[in-house]
Symmetry: C2
Subunit: 144 residues, 2 copies
DNA sequence: GACATTTCGGACAATCAGGTCCGTATTTTT
DNA sequence: AAAAATACGGACCTGATTGTCCGAAATGTC
C-alpha cells in the first residue's frame, strides 16, 4: 500500500506531533529509536518532510524536528503520503493504466474507484494531531 | 497499490476470461499485445498464475492460456493478487508494523482497517467472469 | 519422423527502492 | 575561539522488481 519510506514518515510524523504537544523537539536518534526505523534512512525521509514544509528542523545542539500542535492539526495524512509516495496510490488506476480515466476506464474501475476514494477521504480527513492523541496511555504503538 | 507484475496479471486474466467465453485459447503474444504488457515479463507472470492453478496452460501449436467461464466465475481477484503480491496489501498494517494486530494497534489502525477491509471485500467479491463482461462493446479497456 | 509452434525455466541485465557512510554546514555551549 | 551536537547532502552499497534472451520441453501437423 504505502512504501517503506512513507511508513517511516508517518510513524515519525505522528511521534513528532505527540512530543510537539509538550513543546519538545526530537532528535533524529530519538525518533529512529522510538519508531523502530533505520536511523540514516529515516534522516532522508525527515529531510523530505522538512523540505515539503510539513515539519520544522533545527540544527545544532538541542536541535531536531518539531511540529507544534496548531500545525499538526492542519497537516493531513494525505500531505505526508503525497510528499513521499506521490498521489498515485489514491488517484492512480488499479490495473496500471497511465491515468485513471472514467471516460475510458479499465474493467476494474467502478469497483476500484470506490475503495480508492474511501482511502483518499480517510487520508485527507485524518490529521497528525488526532493520530498523536491515540498514542497516549499505551492505547497505540509505533513499534513492536 | 499493486505491483506492476500484479497489474499485468489482472489485465491478462480478465482478457483470458473474456476469450474463454468463446472457448478460445490465447497465446502469450496475443495477450501481451492486447494488454499492452511486455511480452517476456508477462510470460513469467502467467506461469505464476498457471502454477497457482488459476488458469490452464497448454504447450504446442494452438497452445496458450485459457480459463473456462465456469472457472472464471470462481476465481476472485483476491486470488490473483495473492498469487503475485501476497496478501499484505489487504491484510497488512498501514504503518508497516510486522502484522496488523488490533490488540496492539498502530495509531492509524482504526482508520486504516476500514478502508483495507473494504479493499479486501472488493477483491474477494469480484470474479474474473464479471470483470470480463465489462470488457464487451467497448465499455472498458485493457490498454490505452 | 521431421518440423513448426508454443510454453517453461534458467541466466542475465537494468532500474529502482531501501539503506549506510561520511564529510559539511549550522548552531549552542564553554 | 574551540568544541560539541545536530541536521544536511552526496556517494555509495545492496537487494528486489522489472524486464530480456535463449535453449529445452512439449505438442500438434504434415
Ligand atoms: S481507469 Fe482503472 S481505476 Fe479508473
Ligand atoms: S496495526 Fe496498523 S493497521 Fe492494524
Amino acid at each position: 500500500m504505502f512504501s517503506r519510506a512513507c511508513q517511516y514518515a508517518i510513524r515519525a510524523a505522528v511521534l513528532i506531533a505527540l512530543e510537539g504537544r509538550n513543546k519538545r523537539r526530537m532528535s533524529l536518534v530519538e525518533i529512529a529509536e522510538r519508531t523502530g526505523s533505520p536511523r540514516a534512512f529515516t534522516a532522508k525521509v525527515l529531510q523530505q518532510l522538512a523540505r515539503a514544509g510539513i515539519l520544522e528542523s533545527t540544527k545544532g545542539p538541542n536541535g531536531g524536528f518539531d511540529l507544534p500542535p496548531a500545525k499538526a492539526k492542519k497537516v493531513k495524512l494525505s500531505m505526508v503520503v503525497k510528499a513521499i509516495d506521490g498521489d498515485q496510490v489514491y488517484r492512480g488506476c488499479g490495473m496500471g493504466l497511465p491515468y485513471c480515466n472514467p471516460k475510458k476506464p479499465c474493467p476494474l474501475h467502478d469497483h476500484f474507484q470506490e475503495v480508492r476514494d474511501e482511502l483518499r477521504d480517510m487520508l485527507e480527513g485524518t490529521d497528525l494531531h488526532t493520530l498523536s492523541l491515540g498514542l497516549e496511555k499505551g492505547k497505540a504503538f509505533l513499534k513492536r
